[in-house]
């Protein structure tokens, strides 16, 4: 989206403006020469703007390939943005050139990954894994003091301090994700970027982790950027929700307004596709079509080939974000008043 984002009232801790990341996915040089294959650019993220107020959770949802994980990586600066900027607590991250200049901000931003089996070093004891950020940022001096702090952190994520002596393989998936959280908390961060933190977990374990994340947020005033494809999880955990599709943010709003009064046809479609536990035996609304290739996205509004309301303008011109209740939405149909009212509440 463009610069025209309505800034949320409270000062934002994290602010993304017109964030974009393009990847060069061209065929190898020889193929380009011999077969005249053109260069190809994958616009994984193409102009995304949002604000996250302190102590709140902003979630990005969307189907695979929509660019939500790329946004997460841009925000923690694992990727350099192609365009746009990320501000953290008023600091433009792009101005922090060197590692040394970045370090104080790094300490305040931590990340939790999806796969707790791949994100913990199997050869390190848990205590060393959790102590690593403390040692890297020289937060505490002295082995005894570090060990005490590691014990506290493990207790905070409802593990026992003696678990520090074990290796990651001795833990279940849910316990490993607790270790990841303890490691993320070790540097006293303000902001956690959580990329599908519960997608690899069973539902009962997912509930434990979501409850833990919420308790920690309440206790420590943490700010979360939460990436997920699971709408129910997002509804449960979020204060604000953004819906992404092929690299663009189509709609964002506070969670209640977005879920109860979705505006964008894609958001409506996603909500209709959620299986409903209460209505047993009732087929959900099947959605037509599939997500097109992000290398050759449709012209105009990316969603137009699947949109029941698409017209000529949607095919030609990308819609700009307009204010909606509690947020913004980018849709020509809404702007032109062609969007049908949804009967009552979107949620049963």
């Amino acid at each position: 989206m463009s610069e025209s984002v309505a800034v949320q009232p409270a000062g934002a801790l994290v602010r993304a403006r017109d964030l974009a990341k393009y990847f060069d996915v061209s065929p190898p040089w020889l193929a380009r020469v011999l077969e005249r294959a053109p260069r190809a650019v994958l616009k994984a993220v193409d102009g995304v703007s949002f604000d996250i107020p302190p102590g709140r959770t902003f979630s990005l949802v969307g189907e695979s390939g929509c660019g939500k994980s790329t946004v997460a990586r841009l925000v923690v600066r694992l990727y350099e943005p192609t365009r746009g900027r990320v501000e953290f607590d008023g600091i433009d991250l792009a101005t922090l050139g060197s590692r040394a200049a970045m370090a104080p901000v790094r300490r305040r931003i931590q990340m939790i990954f999806q796969d707790p089996y791949a994100s913990l070093n199997p050869r390190w004891r848990v205590a060393d894994i959790v102590a690593e950020p403390i040692r890297t940022h020289r937060l505490i001096e002295g082995d005894a003091a570090i060990a005490r702090r590691v014990g506290e952190l493990l207790a905070q994520v409802r593990l026992s301090p003696v678990d520090g002596e074990k290796f990651p393989h001795e833990f279940s998936g849910g316990q490993r994700q607790r270790i990841s959280i303890a490691r993320a908390l070790a540097s006293n961060p303000d902001f956690l970027v959580c990329d599908e933190p519960t997608s690899a977990l069973d539902v009962s374990v997912q509930a434990q982790i979501l409850n833990l994340m919420r308790d920690l947020q309440r206790a420590m005033g943490l700010t979360y950027l939460f990436i997920s494809h699971d709408l129910a999880v997002v509804y449960h955990i979020s204060d604000y929700v953004g819906v992404m599709y092929l690299g663009r943010l189509l709609e964002w709003a506070d969670a209640r307004s977005l879920f109860h009064r979705p505006q964008h046809p894609y958001t409506r479609m996603l909500l209709d596709a959620i299986p409903d536990l209460e209505m047993t035996g009732q087929a959900r609304q099947a959605v037509a079509g599939e997500v097109p290739s992000p290398i050759h996205p449709p012209s105009g509004c990316h969603f137009h080939p699947r949109c029941p309301l698409a017209n000529e303008r949607c095919r030609a011109e990308a819609p700009r974000p307009r204010p909606r209740e509690g947020g913004e939405v980018a849709c020509h149909a809404l702007e032109e008043g062609r969007l049908p009212e949804r009967g009552g509440d979107a949620l049963r």
């Binding site: 189907e63 695979s64 279940s172 998936g173 849910g174 316990q175 069973d202 539902v203 009962s204 374990v205 997912q206 509930a207 434990q208 979501l210 409850n211 919420r214 494809h229 699971d230 709408l231 129910a232 999880v233 509804y235 449960h236 955990i237 879920f259 109860h260 479609m269 996603l270 909500l271 596709a273 959620i274 299986p275 409903d276 536990l277 209460e278 209505m279 047993t280 035996g281 009732q282 087929a283 959900r284 609304q285 099947a286 959605v287 599939e290 997500v291 949620l347 049963r348």
Partner: protein, 336 residues
Amino acid sequence: MDPAPEGNRPLLVVRDLRIEFPTRRGTLVAVDGVSFHIDEGEVLGVVGESGAGKSLTGAAIIGLLEPPGRIAVGSVTLAGRRIDDLPYEEMRRIRGSQIGMVFQDPLTSLNPLYTVGRQLTETLRTHLDLSEQAARARAVELLGEVGIPSPQVRVDQYPHEFSGGMRQRVVIALALCVNPRLIIADEPTTALDVSIQAQIITLLKRLCREHGAAVMLITHDMGVIAETADRVAVMYAGRIAEVGRVDQIIKRARHPYTDGLMGSIPKVGTDAERLTQIEGSMPRLTEIPAGCAFHPRCPKVFERCTQERPELASVDGAQVACWLYAGAPAQAIDRV
């Protein structure tokens, strides 16, 4: 051989199934005393968390347990014929002609080196008496039936030319091509996006109804179960905790595990500060507790749970393995 439960004719009867894995450190029991049936044309959902034994149960029914896993005790009967002790070749014929399979990852269940059409015609001609042309015509027809656009073109393409959702449609076409009486679908929508998930579930349901096939739907996704299954079996630590009609399980779960599981699912539109949480995690196979396997995590545990193992017993039409509902444990498992 097996007394038929009254009422509907059971197509598949699994009785007292026990699957063991002999290891150097002793025998692991992955599935223990599992009994259930599926009626003709019925969709039985099998839910549980990872390691509950649901996929192993499915694999055992189709005779595809990976060694050293083996059926130690119990029987599997398909349409009145016992199939768990058949020689490999004979079982292979039954798998092709009477049981269709849909697995989680559509890319690994299709051969990447053959066109989709070749895989379909090969299956068709192995099990049905069809000429090459007739088989190809049927393949095109099947691809159309599972909602693949321009099937005449797509039939000559390779699996990598299809998207994930389209591949799963091909797998469903393969599973249904010889009109099997039973489909075993193991996490058929888990690898798919939510909008594609809805398409695949709708398709699977419609086709099974049209072909009159019964379905064993194995999944961890309660939402998929809720809209698809007629009855549900909830598995925990290799055992069935509860079996009942889908509305009974979802709205009035009897077993404390089912109850906790349902409460731990976040729901869109339900504002809850915290989710219900089952403490702890599923025991490892080496450490399955005595008595009821769920007792260390159960909020309603009492003396008897730690000592005696509960069997499935009827409670208001559902079957529950829990001492909370035990009147008389002895005559419990008379009918599954």
